[in-house]
Symmetry: C2
Subunit: 424 residues, 2 copies
């Protein structure tokens, strides 16, 4: 069984929006183990959509179309697909009622053109839209499954996850189970080497690494007649990966982030934290504070961009700045100790670097960054050399700061307190 996806919308062809639905559906179909060989984008044009759709019917078993289900004259996906498949459009009373309700609840005036969205191809299955007005549609005919989904990413993903995955799983006769192993502080090539045999395994379980900024995520997937048997195949492989990578793994939870794993570690060890940032200028704090509940551990932080601010606010010594410069092991050490003192925090993290485009020297070129981390008085400082533009260098610094934070807390408390160990 193969699938292909068609995205309908002139706004994609004009480059006004990035087709994130493309990557989303591709990833979901891959997780389901359904090969996708083609993706197409076509505008709100009946003739061209019709041509692309006919081609897809000739080469794929499952065709997923997204977009063009709205109330306007431009929205032609349902009409075009129905015409190609020789289906009449009939008013679906249930869908009509849902649309009326949707507007009433929001106290908004509904115009008559909205009923267009309740017209469903005969014999088709309706997929209720819990996040908008346009229902999805599934047409099964001649061994083909044609699935129409709304274009807005939030509506599409919610509908796909709750309604389409069960249908596709039933069709493949296979249930897929996957675990995501999230690793930080190791390069993609290192991971590829350590897991080489697993990545190249042929058989029921697939192991695929994905490189992220300062992280590598490894997805382990297997299929079986039911979830239990698929899970049984995944579990020992995840266990092997854990044995090989140990504390480099920060989570096996899908929605865990590196910053949340750091905040969880702080909470688990009853530690407070502060930040003192030069080149990242607030971005480390910004990422930590994106974790709900961070107020238990984070009270205050400092942006010390000038040398004067480094001296005045967190007490870096004038002689240190003169002798070693603001971008040095010594300065970030004093920054993080001074910040911990000022904020009365147990843990502190400091950044100082040359983000460019100017300010580089032969000795400390653009991209040179020092990060210092203090856990209860024990300080580790590291030097990094990043490449890329100013934004990229700053972003890498933030990620490496989180990696270093995690490493230092684990080191100080020993592996026994590894916050996520039960879940991993």
């Amino acid at each position: 069984m193969t699938a292909e996806t068609i995205f309908v919308g002139t706004e994609i062809l004009l480059g006004n929006i990035v087709n994130t639905n493309g990557a989303y559906l591709a990833g979901e179909l891959a997780k389901l183990g359904i090969p996708t060989y083609y993706q197409s984008v076509v505008g709100d044009n009946k003739e061209r959509l019709s041509e692309v759709f006919k081609t897809s019917l000739n080469r794929s078993d499952v065709i997923i179309l997204s977009g063009g289900l709205g109330p306007t004259q431009d929205d032609i996906t349902k009409e075009t697909v129905s015409e190609v498949m020789g289906k009449k459009l009939l008013l679906d009373e249930d869908s009509k009622r849902r649309i009326v309700d949707y507007f009433e609840k929001r106290g908004r005036v509904m115009t008559d053109n909205n009923f267009k969205q309740a017209m469903i191809p005969e014999g088709a299955k309706v997929l209720d839209n819990d996040n908008g007005t346009a229902p999805g549609v599934v047409i099964e005919d001649n061994g083909k499954m044609v699935i129409l989904l709304p274009g807005p990413p939030k509506e599409l993903s919610a509908m796909f996850e709750s309604k389409v995955i069960p249908l596709l799983s039933a069709k493949t006769g296979q249930t897929f189970y996957s675990s995501m192993v999230k690793i930080c502080g190791r390069s993609e090539s290192e991971i590829a080497e350590v897991l080489d045999d697993l990545i190249n395994m042929t058989g029921e379980v697939t192991v695929a690494p994905y490189a992220k900024e300062c992280e590598v995520h490894v997805r382990v997937t297997a299929s079986g007649p039911d979830e239990k048997s698929a899970k049984k195949l995944v579990k020992p492989v995840v266990k092997t990966i854990k044995t090989r990578l140990g504390n480099s793994i920060y989570s096996t939870e899908e929605d865990m982030t590196l910053e949340k794993s750091v905040v969880d570690l702080l909470i688990a060890n009853d530690l407070t934290i502060t930040t003192v940032e030069s080149c990242t200028g607030g971005l480390v704090a910004g990422r930590l504070i994106n974790v709900p509940g961070v107020s238990d551990v984070y009270k205050s932080g400092y942006v010390t961009y000038s040398n004067k601010a480094k001296r005045k606010i967190v007490g870096v010594k004038k002689s240190t700045l003169e002798k070693h410069g603001a971008v040095s092991h010594q300065t970030v050490k004093e920054m993080c100790l001074g910040a911990a003192f000022a904020a009365k925090a147990d843990v502190s993290i400091a950044t100082s670097g040359i983000a460019g485009p100017d300010g580089g020297t032969p000795e400390k070129p653009v991209g040179t960054v020092f990060i210092g981390c203090n856990v209860c008085g024990e300080v580790i400082t590291k030097e990094y050399r990043f490449t890329g533009n100013r934004e990229k260098i700053r972003s890498f610094t933030v990620s490496e700061a989180l990696v270093l934070l995690r490493e230092c807390i684990l080191k100080y408390y020993g592996q026994k307190t590894f916050g996520g160990s039960d879940n991993v």
Copy 2:
């Protein structure tokens, strides 16, 4: 003349990467006035790429393929396209030398498979790659123009801008000229109303608005036999937009950002700035500090996430927090005055809000944010209600803080000092 784009790469079909090249090329072709009716994605598979490429040759005049030009056996774009078009691949000595140089300069060892990238279809034009090893290729045959570009976005965009745009302009016989008018502090629907007649103009000049976070960008495009005549058509339309939107326009420069326009205003008026952030926790500072040269105006800033930090670091009164709460006009007013005093800065910006998911009340639901801005002692505070998740609410707050900063500085100094007025 119509174009279409084909993106080659199994990693796109697996959802491992988002096809940002798709939106980029779509936008660039739209700017050139070349209609694009189709976009396709196909994996690293000769048979399927061949099929998709043949279809494109039958329906479009210009076909742009991206990806699959690398050194590995998986990279088959050049080979497949050459085969379909009946062209032999020949070694291009210039390209070979560039590849050898590329590795030498970086002190990296080159493997022989890299020479595969120097094989060029007979009669094709080579597009040198200034950012990588794989050269681009242009084949013109039978009235069709086939353009092969490398997949990495940075290589693709640099090559497209410096080498492909001139070729396409020559082919259309038209030169395109466009100006981007960047607006902040006004909603998309407001802009659409104010510029309604311009947006709906039929003729040589097109006016298209693009909504961004707290910004609207309006692109004015025209074509002519040469740049001068195209520019002549664009200029009066831009002038009309300026007359109607005045100070809401922060720039007409392509690479100007809202944060850079704020930093430019500060520099122009010889003002220093500090930040004091609660819900945004460092992100306003983070965005300002992304502007190179910001060190002239930004020295230090504060993240005051807890009430205690608001009191201790920037002197918010206990009675203010008790009476009005941390999320209030009064608190952000005291925060920005206190921060200005502590940092000895002329200008300060303060944020405090409920980013969620918890912490909302019926009176101040999640999404309630206050921003305060002080320019030389004159303070303006505003209340906002944002929707979306924690990340979205924080991101909106940062953008609105920049909009408010700009507004307050302009107000204080009067319109005469509008930093960008000469360029707009």
